[in-house]
């Protein structure tokens, strides 16, 4: 049934072209006329506008390495490339996609601006917000028939106890990232770990995800240590001299191990761990070998094409948040293409269908976990320069999908969709 509609349209366009000899692009620009009035002459549909909103909390933030400072348009650039992609397809189907970006401060109350977006008519909103902010608008969105696409928050809580029926997650969770990393370390037979983690909440959450992965896949965390954030400046002229002396001291009382796991999402010390450990050991986690939803150097599975397209459009490399946003916009675009409509109910039904899948340069089709609307996806493992591996690793099996070996699986979920 799904293919009937587009094919019918294609035939109409075909007939039209055969008689008038104008290209498909021109057809879209011609004055719209209802099909019923002049079926033989002007079969083209009027161009349909599909509006997407993008709500982000942003403030410039420092990083330990200047190379890790997030670009100004992180995420948004990915959404824009996907809007272009949707429009290239849309020109054949008379669909036009636009993106409307709204920005607030990092800890701002997002409810007022979100209400404005709803009032403006945004029915699909990409959210790059904290878990707390996202949760504050989730029910307002639901009551107004708005679908939210979480492209930034990796919090498991948003997919578990705080899950919502109208929130789709294209960003992976911390538990998916940690599992992707742990599978690789187990595959390497590097099973003895120590864990150093930061003192902020998100550092602790990633540390917890790593502990869970250790239990799940048979890694052993021999010891843990917290690195307290005492509020030091991140950049000082002679800072490296001190760090070189301080880090080994911090780590010297840890028992012998094979890998150092680092959980420092807050950028307080993690970047300093590799090559400064007490004993020579590889580092993984938020520093060293890092799990991510995308890697700026991935060229596998047609990746070269999206990387080139992204670099050409945005003038920089594509990051994980860009890919999460690209994927969200493509999900809406693909649903609009295949349902041949901008009808919100039809698009939502298409995305929620059992057969729905999306291609995102990760070597296999990506589908949603229907119990919490998390997008299943492979996890990239890379250092700053290249992809080392992708998980799930060979041999980690699952009765339904090997991608479900990453993160919280259905039998363990705390999600009750509402």
């Amino acid at each position: 049934m799904k293919s009937m509609v587009p094919n019918t349209l294609a035939v109409f366009i075909g007939l039209f072209l055969a008689s008038v000899n104008v290209c498909a692009v021109a057809a879209q620009e011609a004055a719209p006329q209802p099909k019923a009035e002049a079926p033989a002459k002007k079969p083209e549909k009027p161009t349909v506008d599909i509006k997407l909103g993008y709500l982000r909390a942003y403030e410039p933030q420092l990083a330990l390495s200047v190379l890790d400072v997030a670009p100004r348009d992180e995420g948004v650039a990915g959404a824009n490339v996907a809007i272009n992609d949707n429009n290239t397809t849309g020109k054949f189907l008379n669909q036009k996609f636009t993106l409307d970006v709204t920005e607030v401060k990092l800890d701002a109350d997002v409810v007022p601006v979100f209400n404005e977006m709803v009032a403006k008519g945004d029915r699909y909103v990409l959210a790059d917000l904290s878990a707390k902010q996202l949760l504050s608008i989730a029910d307002i969105a639901r009551d107004n028939g708005v679908l939210l696409f979480n492209v930034g928050a990796t919090d498991d809580s948003l997919r578990e106890e705080d899950c919502r029926i109208n929130v789709f997650h294209t960003a992976p969770t911390r538990s998916m990232l940690a599992d992707g990393l742990a599978q690789y370390l187990i595959w390497k037979q590097w099973r003895k770990w120590v864990l150093v983690y930061g003192s902020h909440e998100r550092d602790q959450l990633f540390a917890e995800a790593l502990r869970r992965s250790a239990t799940r896949f048979g890694g052993e965390i021999l010891a843990e240590k917290e690195f307290k954030d005492t509020g030091t400046a991140r950049r000082t002229d002679s800072g490296v001299v001190q760090i070189q002396r301080q880090l080994p001291v911090f780590m010297q009382d840890l028992p012998d191990h094979e890998v150092v796991l680092v959980a420092d999402e807050s950028e307080v010390f993690g970047t300093y761990v590799p090559f400064r450990t007490w004993i020579p050991r590889p580092v993984a986690g938020t520093a060293g070998l890092t799990p991510s939803g995308w890697h700026p150097a991935s060229e596998q599975w047609g990746g070269t094409q999206i990387q080139n397209r992204f670099a050409k459009t945005s003038g920089r490399r594509m990051l994980s948040k860009d890919m999460a946003a690209w994927t969200a916009v493509r999900i809406i675009g693909d649903a609009a293409t295949r349902t041949q409509s901008a009808d919100e109910k039809a698009i939502e039904a298409f995305i929620r269908d059992d057969k729905f899948s999306i291609a995102a340069f990760k070597g296999q089709k990506l589908t949603f976990r229907k119990w919490n609307w998390q997008l299943r996806q492979p996890i990239f493992l890379g250092d700053g320069r290249s992809v080392v591996s992708t998980s799930p690793q060979e041999g980690f099996l699952h009765q339904f999908s090997e991608l479900d070996t990453l993160g919280v699986d259905q039998p363990e979920t705390k999600c009750v969709l509402k």
Binding site: S3, P6, N7, A10, V11, I13, G14, L17, A18, N21, C23, A24, V25, D85, T88, T89, F92, L93, G302, Q305, N308, R309, K312, R330, D334, T337, R338, S357, I358, A359, G363, Q364, K365, S401, E402
Partner: protein, 324 residues
């Protein structure tokens, strides 16, 4: 090599002496090590390996067998290899990042998919001029042409459409939606159907060339293999139109399909990540490129049994067999 070709010509000249294993030359593009491997189809031995441009992928041959055309994707060019000397004698202006192309039945025109620019470039081989650039969907890839040369079909991998293009006007006449990441187009010899593989969708759509609608969708199921691993790429149909072969990527198998019923008759186990396919001109053998295992497999068309796998270069991608 030279000797081999002239021996063939002699045999042909003597009037088709019955020969159970007619020797053709097989050319395989190796994506990773920038080479083309040349083999003898009768002995199934590598006869020579030549260096070519960067990231060689799509490969085809002129109808007289004199020139091999090769997409050197990272060099943004198409290289022309003289089959007599095995030297690169010329290049064609392909547009950026050429991946796949198709030669018109009259051998004069090459239609090239430019992945990075959402274009199909039409090249006149003789003058080396660009006749047209046709805007298509996102990430154009698969290229097929009807036996009468009137209709060219391009697939776009992110738009997920097969674009039917009138070769006289160079304009799109129909856009047919297919499943995710359409990779390859093959017309049936009677020109009535265009078969389009969808790598991520895991299907082959059979499009009626008269109505330009999907008349059937072929799916694949292999016991013990998860559905995500079945990724159809290369498609070839026998000259009598009775059997189709579909390379299934990381499923490591080639599906054999009855074109009358669209039923899969058999899955032939070949090498890892099977990508493209080519028949020998006598239709007795079909050859698959197996990217990850760095080899190609010769499959007997009569029995659909794999006969032999031969190691070639790194990441073999495309394959073409000389017509004579």
């Amino acid at each position: 090599m030279r000797k081999h070709v002239s021996a063939l010509a002699l045999v042909a000249g003597l009037g088709f002496l019955a020969s159970p294993a007619f020797a053709y030359t097989v050319y395989v593009s190796n994506e990773k090590d920038n080479t083309v491997t040349i083999l003898d189809s009768a002995t199934m031995q590598v006869t020579k390996t030549i260096n070519v441009g960067q990231r060689p992928r799509g490969i085809t041959i002129s109808h007289d067998g004199k020139f091999v055309y090769l997409c050197a994707s990272d060099d943004d060019t198409i290289e022309v290899i003289d089959t007599a000397t095995l030297q690169i004698v010329d290049t064609l202006p392909s547009g950026p990042d050429p991946e796949l192309f198709v030669l018109s039945p009259d051998g004069k025109t090459l239609y090239v998919a430019n992945e990075d620019d959402n274009l199909v470039t039409v090249i006149d081989i003789e003058s080396k001029g660009v006749l047209a650039e046709i805007p298509v969907g996102v990430e154009p890839e698969g290229m097929g042409i009807s036996p009468d040369g009137k209709t060219m079909v391009n697939t776009s991998e992110t738009t997920n459409m097969a674009h039917f293009i009138d070769t006289a006007t160079h304009e799109i006449t129909d856009n047919v939606l297919v499943d995710s990441r359409p990779r390859f187009v093959e017309f049936t010899p009677d020109g009535k159907e265009a078969w389009v593989s969808a790598e991520i969708g895991g299907t082959v759509s059979v499009i009626d060339n008269a109505t330009r609608e999907v008349k059937h969708k072929i799916t694949f199921e292999i016991p013990g293999l998860r559905a995500e691993a079945i990724q159809p790429v290369g498609v070839r149909i026998t000259a009598d139109g009775k059997k189709a072969y579909v390379a299934l990527g990381p499923a490591n198998r080639v599906a054999v399909i009855d074109t009358a019923t669209y039923e899969v008759q058999k899955y032939v186990l070949v090498g890892q990540r099977v990508w493209q396919l080519a028949f020998t001109p006598d239709q007795k053998t079909i050859i698959s490129t197996n990217g990850v295992s760095n080899d190609i497999t010769f499959i007997d068309v009569a029995t659909d049994e794999p006969v032999q796998s031969v190691t070639v270069g790194a990441l073999p991608w495309g394959v073409v067999v000389s017509p004579n």
